[in-house]
C-alpha cells in the first residue's frame, strides 16, 4: 500500500476512533449540572394546599434540600420515606422542600393525604422553577448551602446514607470550610 495513503488514513481515523473509544462507556445524559457551585435560582412558590408560599431567599442560614417529584414517579415513591425521616432528623439545620413536577394538583393532594408529608410541597405551575434548576426528570434533589449555593445535585431515589452525607456537605459549605 502506498505509504502516504496509509499515513493520511491513520491521521484521519485515529483521532475519530480515540474520541469514540474514550466516550464508549459514558452516558451522554449524565452531565454535571452547571448550577453546582453557583447561587441557587430564586423562587417563591405556593404550597400544595394553597395556604402559603415559600420564598427560597427567606431560608438563608439553613441548608435547603429541594426535591423535585411527581405522583406518577415510582422512584419518588421509593424515596418518600427517606426524605420524610430526613426532614425530621435534620429539622434543626435543614429545610426540606418538595417541588411538584408536571403533575395534577388533585393527584398531589390525594398522594400527600395518603402517604403524609413532613415538609412543604410546592406547586410549580408552568415548570419555570424546574427549568431554572435544569430538571430533566424526577426525582432530582438539590442540596443548597446556608449561604444559598447549590452544593450538589442527586438524580434518582435518595438513600438515607446519601441524604445524610449531602446534608452534611451542604452544611459544611455554609460554614465556610
Amino acid at each position: 500500500m502506498n505509504r502516504r495513503v496509509l499515513w493520511v488514513g491513520l491521521a484521519l481515523s485515529v483521532p475519530l476512533v480515540a474520541v469514540l473509544v474514550a466516550n464508549l462507556g459514558r452516558d451522554p445524559r449524565a452531565i454535571r449540572s452547571p448550577l453546582i457551585g453557583r447561587a441557587a435560582p430564586a423562587f417563591a412558590l405556593p404550597t400544595a394546599d394553597g395556604a402559603a408560599s415559600v420564598d427560597l431567599t427567606e431560608l438563608r442560614g439553613r441548608v435547603v434540600v429541594l426535591n423535585f417529584w411527581a405522583t406518577w414517579c415510582i422512584p419518588c415513591f421509593e424515596e418518600h420515606e427517606v426524605l420524610a425521616r430526613g426532614a425530621e432528623q435534620f429539622a434543626d439545620r435543614a429545610q426540606f422542600l418538595g417541588v411538584v413536577y408536571q403533575d395534577e394538583v388533585e393527584k398531589v393532594h390525594r398522594y400527600l393525604e395518603r402517604f403524609g408529608q413532613s415538609y412543604p410541597s410546592l406547586l410549580d405551575e408552568g415548570g419555570q422553577t424546574a427549568i431554572a434548576y435544569g430538571v430533566g426528570g424526577v426525582p432530582e434533589t438539590y442540596f443548597i448551602s446556608p449561604d444559598g449555593v447549590i452544593v450538589e445535585k442527586y438524580e434518582g431515589a435518595l438513600t438515607s446514607r446519601a441524604l445524610s452525607a449531602l446534608v452534611e456537605s451542604a452544611a459544611r459549605h455554609g460554614a465556610g470550610s
Partner: protein, 179 residues
C-alpha cells in the same frame, strides 16, 4: 386550580429573574410566535433523542417553549434566552455548539474530511488516468514456456490491450519481445 391557588402561583419569581435587563424590544403577535419557534429550534429538548424544543411534544419542551415566548415578550434577546437555558442545563441544551475551544473541531472536521476526500479522489483520478500504453516494457511481456498456455496469454493480451496477435506494437523503445 382554585382562585386562591392561582393567585399564589402567580407569586412565582418571573422567568428570567437572573438574566439582567432585557436587551431587545418586547415582541407580540405574529412576530412573537415566529421568534418563539425560531429560538425554540435552537434549544435541545433535554429529555428527547435529538429533538429541538420547537419540535418536541413532551411536557418539558412545552414548558420551555412557553418560557421562551414569555422572555421574548419581555424583550429578552435570543442570546440572553439561550444563555439562560444553558445556565440550567449546560451547553448540551444548545443544538448548535458555540464556536469556542474544542467545539471548532465539530465545525471544521466535516470540512476537513470533505477536503481530504476530494484530495484523495483527485490523486486517484490523476494516477488512474495514465494510458496503459505508457507502461514501460518489462518482464511482464514475457510468455510462459508452455506453448499452449502462451497462446492463451497472447489471446488475453489481444482482447485486453487490442494488441494484434497479442504482441506489443513496436515502439521507439523497442519493447515487443515475442512474435
Amino acid at each position: 386550580m382554585s382562585a386562591a391557588l392561582l393567585a399564589l402561583a402567580l407569586l412565582a419569581v418571573p422567568a428570567g429573574g437572573n438574566l439582567g435587563p432585557p436587551q431587545g424590544a418586547p415582541l407580540a403577535g405574529e412576530e412573537l410566535e415566529r421568534e418563539t419557534h425560531r429560538v425554540s429550534a435552537l434549544l435541545r429538548c433535554p429529555v428527547c433523542q435529538g429533538l429541538s424544543v420547537a419540535d418536541s411534544p413532551v411536557d418539558l419542551a412545552r414548558d420551555m417553549r412557553s418560557q421562551v415566548r414569555e422572555l421574548l415578550s419581555e424583550g429578552y434577546s435570543e442570546e440572553q434566552i439561550v444563555e439562560y437555558f444553558e445556565s440550567a442545563y449546560g451547553e448540551f441544551v444548545r443544538l448548535e455548539p458555540k464556536l469556542t475551544g474544542v467545539n471548532w473541531l465539530v465545525w471544521l472536521a466535516p470540512l476537513a474530511g470533505l477536503l481530504a476526500g476530494a484530495g484523495v479522489v483527485a490523486w486517484a483520478l490523476r494516477r488512474g488516468g495514465a494510458p496503459p500504453a505508457a507502461r514501460p516494457a518489462g518482464p511482464d511481456d514475457a510468455l510462459p514456456a508452455d506453448e499452449h498456455l502462451a497462446s492463451y496469454v497472447l489471446k488475453a493480451r489481444e482482447l485486453a490491450y487490442g494488441w494484434p496477435g497479442g504482441a506489443r506494437p513496436s515502439e521507439p523503445a523497442g519493447a515487443g519481445t515475442e512474435a
